[in-house]
Symmetry: C2
Subunit: 209 residues, 2 copies
Amino acid sequence: MSARLPETESSECTRDRLLVAAREVFAESGFKGATVREICRRAGVNVAAVNYHFNGKEALFMAALELEPLENMIASSCGPDNAEVRLGRFIHEFMLRLMNGCCTPHSQLIMRELLEPSPALDSIAKEIMIPLHRHLTGLVREIVGDRVSDAEVRRHVFSLLGQCSYYRNTREMNRLMYPELAYDAQEIEATAKHITEFSLAGLKQAAGK
Amino acid sequence: MSARLPETESSECTRDRLLVAAREVFAESGFKGATVREICRRAGVNVAAVNYHFNGKEALFMAALELEPLENMIASSCGPDNAEVRLGRFIHEFMLRLMNGCCTPHSQLIMRELLEPSPALDSIAKEIMIPLHRHLTGLVREIVGDRVSDAEVRRHVFSLLGQCSYYRNTREMNRLMYPELAYDAQEIEATAKHITEFSLAGLKQAAGK
DNA sequence: GACTGTATCAAACGCTTGTTTGAAATTCAA
DNA sequence: TTGAATTTCAAACAAGCGTTTGATACAGTC
């Protein structure tokens, strides 16, 4: 092979390449359907590297699920604006994360984990879903006020998340059914705008009861 | 073995048991993750039966996806009532199909197919998604009127479907995050009612623009 | 009763899987 | 320069995979 990096850099490089490839392959095929050989093929490393660097396929899977925390996305909906404006910004940021090409393996991996849970479900709940739900519950509560029950607030939060994640989940089917429709930045913005307006109407109606 | 059925009944029995087991295993693990041996174990038949009755794993998968057509569910939203009432009945019926225990393998299989498409995506589009979209597009158009663009109508349809399918897709995560929440008939009805009201608010606002 | 056709079985095949192993290459420290 | 440590490699292992095969059991027909 060519001249190697310093050992720790070489090791980090191999680990990073494995993680990137692992996210792609696990996102596409799930834990069972993904193979160590396919991951290593994409990473351009030896199959033994998985056991050497990660102690096996399952540990690699858990490491691949280590996720960027939500602070950046949640930060987009903080600030002095009223709750409706902040909700709109949040939805736009969320849709960008779900639909942008560069985020595809991550968001696909999360959606798949929701549908086909692994032992990582607990940590995904703690690191992703509970903060997300808590944040959105706060926004919804700000908009609907105190007279709406917790159960109803929860349903509103689910309605918000359901609309956004639908686009991620049905991406291939939509490509088939609407071949001319491309989710570029413009279409993502229009979609986020729709989800915001559609949802605010329902939230305001709930507030007015 | 014990006394056998007449040949055609024996054959139908084996095929049916394989199909039921196949739906469960494919729904849980996907095409790649599912194994012929696991399917046959659950069906209580010999592994050779898959090739004998279905000509292989892939043909079994396609047969497992053969789906009950939507006429019954679509029929629930036909009749003399106005579109809002019919939309509500449709959503309730849809939620029952998504969340009822007896429909779990079927609806889980469809959700998984959307997220992780197989070569069956085309036929699922033709038999399930296109009729569903067309039907909902008709209902939405009746409610919002003629001044709303086709693109906006499509987004409303996606919002409706997204809210409903979210419960199916996040079932395990919700069980973890809200352990006291059981989607019995009463909770399903309350959820359908929420989705209907939440959505009608958005649809009426779109109509009023 | 003999023969044919169908359905099921246990076993085996060739291939792929995740993991392990000993060797080789390279980096690092003394 | 030497020895230790780390990383990477090709090859092999045992297990499991989807599929095939020949045998067996039974139903149906004449």
